[in-house]
Amino acid sequence: MTQEQNIELITVDKLLDKVRALRQQGQRLVQISATRLPDQVELTYSFDLNDRLTNLRLFLPGVATRLPSISSIYFCSILYENEIHDLFDVKVDGLTVDFHGNFYKTRIKFPFGSIKAPCAKPATAPASGATTCGTAPAATTGANK
């Protein structure tokens, strides 16, 4: 019952052309998700046509990350890209609807780590033990961009 999925690795500059081609085929945007790896940010774009998923994967370097927005091709991507900006500190160029960092109002800015602090510490220490990120000590409250 595994749902098949194929992941294609691309680079940032090819992103808009690839997305336009998928739009021509009639695929719809399913999700955009981001993961913070130790020294880069990994993005996954998922598209669907007739219940088959097509995924694009790209890696952004940890510093000076800028991502072109696909909101001119798919309007619904504004929500995903604003969320990625608010949680991961990835600057997105060309958003049609831009919240300028106010989409989620969190106490710690960029809770999933920003360029300055790869892993943000949670606000209160959890009862069951330490967090798994052992990198930079956290002085992340209100990190200035």
């Binding site: 019952m1 595994t2 749902q3 999925q5 719809r28 945007l29 399913v30 999700q31 998700s33 993961t35 996954t44 998922s46 219940d51 998923l53 995924n55 798919y74 309007f75 619904c76 504004i78 929500l79 106010n102 989409f103 989620y104 109002k105 969190t106 809770p111 999933f112 949670p122 959890p126 069951s128 033990g129 967090t131 798994t132 990120c133």
Partner: protein, 358 residues
């Protein structure tokens, strides 16, 4: 003509969960809607770094109170795909039955809220009265009314004996009769029709391009239902998605009413075919891998993207809930409608904001 900005929410009698809209209004017609969410962001995705993957089922279930069971089921399904665990067939059938019960209760809740949003309070009370019967079945079989707590990695935690199954089937007959009475009012009453027909029209191509899912998409004529992918017991129980072509609020309401009866049929079929056997397999070790799993919640398609790297904690837990995908549709329908239609349009996408913001 001067414009006024009217704030809608986060506290509003029609909203089940807090969302804020700034409506730019020109003499009772809405020109633009600016959304503002983030009131209920609990940071559940970050909790994956501290809770191990077995306990995380409890967190995944608590993302939402209305669609909680299917969140837990999708999480277990995703981990089972990564770890290549073969779940016994009886557990899959039980998960299907609970999932469909969850769908009936969620749709009845929405029908009640829709009636309440229109001002039709007695219909709201009757919808929730029928829902109480469903919640009693759920509590008798799983232990909880809202948070079921019955999915675990490798299967389910509780079984249903033959006596309970007979009782559920008898209750389903009574419930189906009562559902017919309630949905007859929703679909045939003139005042309900006047309030819902022609309001918030979403055309087929636009709905598909905006990335809508669930009854919002099916009400505009696109036949898409993730249950066709064949997860859980849906390999043996084929589903035909229910669609309507008009694309207005009435069509979406009608799709949900008809899905109630489809769910009753699925429960009857699943309980008739349920095989004997184990209800869970033992799972040891840590997950290592990545998967994207999709299931059908009452509100649409939910996507779980999990990455695991061989440790006890997941590297990334990402949920894309159906209301997140339906929000752009709401922002596109609102301009051009009357101010009095705004509650209907906001409710028609079935907003579950606590899912959206996790």
């Amino acid at each position: 003509m001067s414009r006024t900005v009217i704030p809608f929410g986060p506290q509003h009698p029609v909203l089940p969960e807090p969302v804020h809209l700034d409506l730019v209004v020109e003499d009772e017609k809405v020109i633009e809607a600016r959304p503002s969410i983030g009131f209920i962001h609990r940071g559940l995705e970050k909790l994956a770094e501290t809770k191990d993957y077995v306990e995380f089922v409890y967190v995944a279930e608590r993302i939402c109170g209305i669609c909680s069971f299917i969140h837990g089921q999708t999480y277990c399904q995703a981990i089972e795909t990564i770890m290549d665990v073969k779940v016994p067939l009886r557990a899959l059938y039980l998960r299907t039955v609970w999932g469909e019960l969850s769908r009936i209760h969620s749709h009845l809740l929405w029908l009640g809220l829709m009636a309440d949003g229109m001002g039709f309070e007695s219909l709201f009370m009757h919808s929730w009265r029928v829902r109480e019967k469903i919640l009693n079945i759920i509590e008798a079989t799983t232990g909880g009314r809202v948070i079921f707590g019955s999915c675990k990695i490798g299967g389910v935690r509780r079984d249903m004996d033959a006596e309970t199954i007979k009782h559920i089937l008898k209750e389903m007959d009574v419930i189906e009769q009562e559902l017919r009475e309630v949905t007859k009012v929703f679909l045939n009453d003139r005042s309900v029709k006047a309030r819902l027909s022609g309001v918030g029209v979403l055309l087929k191509q636009e709905a598909y391009d905006l990335g809508c899912v669930g009854p919002t998409l099916r009400g505009s004529g696109v036949a898409q239902d993730m249950r066709k992918l064949g997860y859980a017991a849906f390999n043996d129980i084929p589903i035909e998605p229910i669609t309507r072509s008009e694309g207005d609020c009435y069509a979406r309401c009608a799709v949900r009413c008809e899905e109630l009866f489809q769910s009753v049929q699925i429960i009857r079929q699943a309980l008739a075919k349920i095989p004997d056997g184990e209800i869970a397999v033992k799972v040891t070790g840590n997950p290592n891998g990545e998967t994207i799993t999709r299931t059908e919640q009452p509100r649409g398609e939910v996507v779980y993207h999990l990455k695991a790297n061989g440790t006890k904690n997941l590297q990334r837990f990402r949920v894309r809930t159906p209301t997140f995908a339906n929000l752009p549709a709401m922002l596109k329908i609102l301009p051009g409608c009357d101010l009095a239609d705004v509650p209907m349009i906001v409710l028609t996408i079935d907003p579950c904001i606590s899912c959206t913001e996790r």
